[in-house]
Amino acid sequence: MDCNVLSRYSDLYLDGELALEERTEVEAHLKQCSECRDAVTAEVRFRQRVRESLLAARAPTSLREQVARRIREERGRLDRPRFFPTLSYAVAVLMLAVMGYAVIFLMESPPDAADSAVAAHMASSDSEMFGTSAQVQAFLEGNAPFRYQVPLEDREGVKLVGARVTRLGPRPAVVYLYDVAGRRVSVAQYQSAPARGRPRLKMDRRSGLVVATYGDDRLTQTVVGDLPEPEVKRFIPASFSQ
């Protein structure tokens, strides 16, 4: 392990999130490198200062008293005898039954790929690769679960910077990560479901993000990004834009 690697592991090391093996490696390096040792010591001291300083913020006495009072009141209410326990139970059982049906109903409705695409955009996930367009494609050659097709070639202000192989609900998918003038745009690509009169282009907003879904018989793409709509449209082939 060299200093460069160590500095990248320092957070994990100090947070106690390294496995024993890695920890031993870090400590072996620290033993022989005074520069890194000093840096780690300084970081530990800084963290102690942060912790001590910020732990000094305490709940005000008025708040403590208010919480204590409201808890007393709530307990008084809860402890009062109930006249119709049987009725309460009956209502509970009925509600559970209704909820059960609702859940089964929801589970049977088809999963919404666009929702999953938003989740995939927001979550970091299993196996991913950051690099140049060529490196990303080489990664996909070996890892893509289907015949993928890079949705948009690099051009001015649009750069493919990574890809991730994942699942959207039940479907295997490739998520492409683009850098668009410093902002991140994800394009989730998956094999199209058998056409059921699905619109060829659907624009939507979810959680403040523009979501566009387009596709043909073979592949469907869902574009997610915190960009204005015209910017997102750059990702959609002209044939779909009309």
Partner: protein
């Protein structure tokens, strides 16, 4: 549901006082971090404790009560924000998108020499200010990790985000805070492009006991 059998109620009451109440300072600090506002934080702490009282049956003894309270606190806050009609704003979504790019974790480097000295000489007010200036999701994660001492996994549960997101927000948040305090854009030593960072996979392996 309020179906509270008597004997158990009394026993639960002592348990609640013993296990949940000592964390009121921590819950208050977290509420401040969430709301950024003293009055709102007061309301949120009260709501958290009332909800915790009603749901105390579902708290599993032996697990981290503080993390459980934080989770209730965060959920209450989210519900409040939604009920107030203030949908998750665009900037916050952008923040999230920004945060979830994993590349940030590898850029972190040490602060050495004069920068390290600047960090160590920061006053309490400066530390507080630097923390308060972080975007909310970053601030929350830094508070949970560096002030309250929660593990990544616990933070992920409190915040309802994947562990990779926690790490990326934590590392970036720390870096932003340090850059602010040292007055220098910190030693982002960047890694050569093309490095495969299957970080969450490594964590998963670790959770399965295969070592990172």
């Amino acid at each position: 549901m309020g179906l509270w059998p008597f004997g158990k109620g009394r026993r639960n009451a002592t348990r609640f006082d013993r296990e949940a109440m000592p964390h009121i300072d921590a819950v208050y600090r977290f509420a401040r971090s969430l709301t950024h506002d003293a009055a709102q934080a007061d309301d949120l702490v009260q709501e958290t404790y009332l909800k915790a009282l009603k749901a105390f049956d579902s708290f599993q003894e032996g697990t981290n009560c503080r993390a459980w309270l934080f989770r209730i606190c965060r959920n209450s806050f989210i519900n409040k924000v939604r009920a107030g009609g203030r949908e998750v704003a665009l900037d916050q979504a952008a923040e999230q998108v920004h945060a979830t790019s994993l590349s940030g974790w590898s850029e972190r480097a040490f602060y050495r020499g004069p920068e390290a000295a600047a960090l160590l000489s920061a006053t309490r007010d400066e530390l507080e200010a630097a923390l308060n200036e972080l975007p909310r999701d970053f601030r929350n994660v830094v508070v949970l990790a560096d002030v309250e001492g929660l593990a990544y996994k616990e933070i992920a549960e409190v915040m309802g985000t994947p562990i990779g997101t926690v790490m990326s927000r934590l590392f970036r948040g720390r870096r932003m805070m340090r850059e602010k305090l040292s007055g220098a854009p910190g030693g982002a030593r960047g890694v050569g492009g093309g490095e495969v960072l299957s970080l969450s996979k490594r964590l998963k392996d670790r959770e399965n006991g295969n070592g990172l």
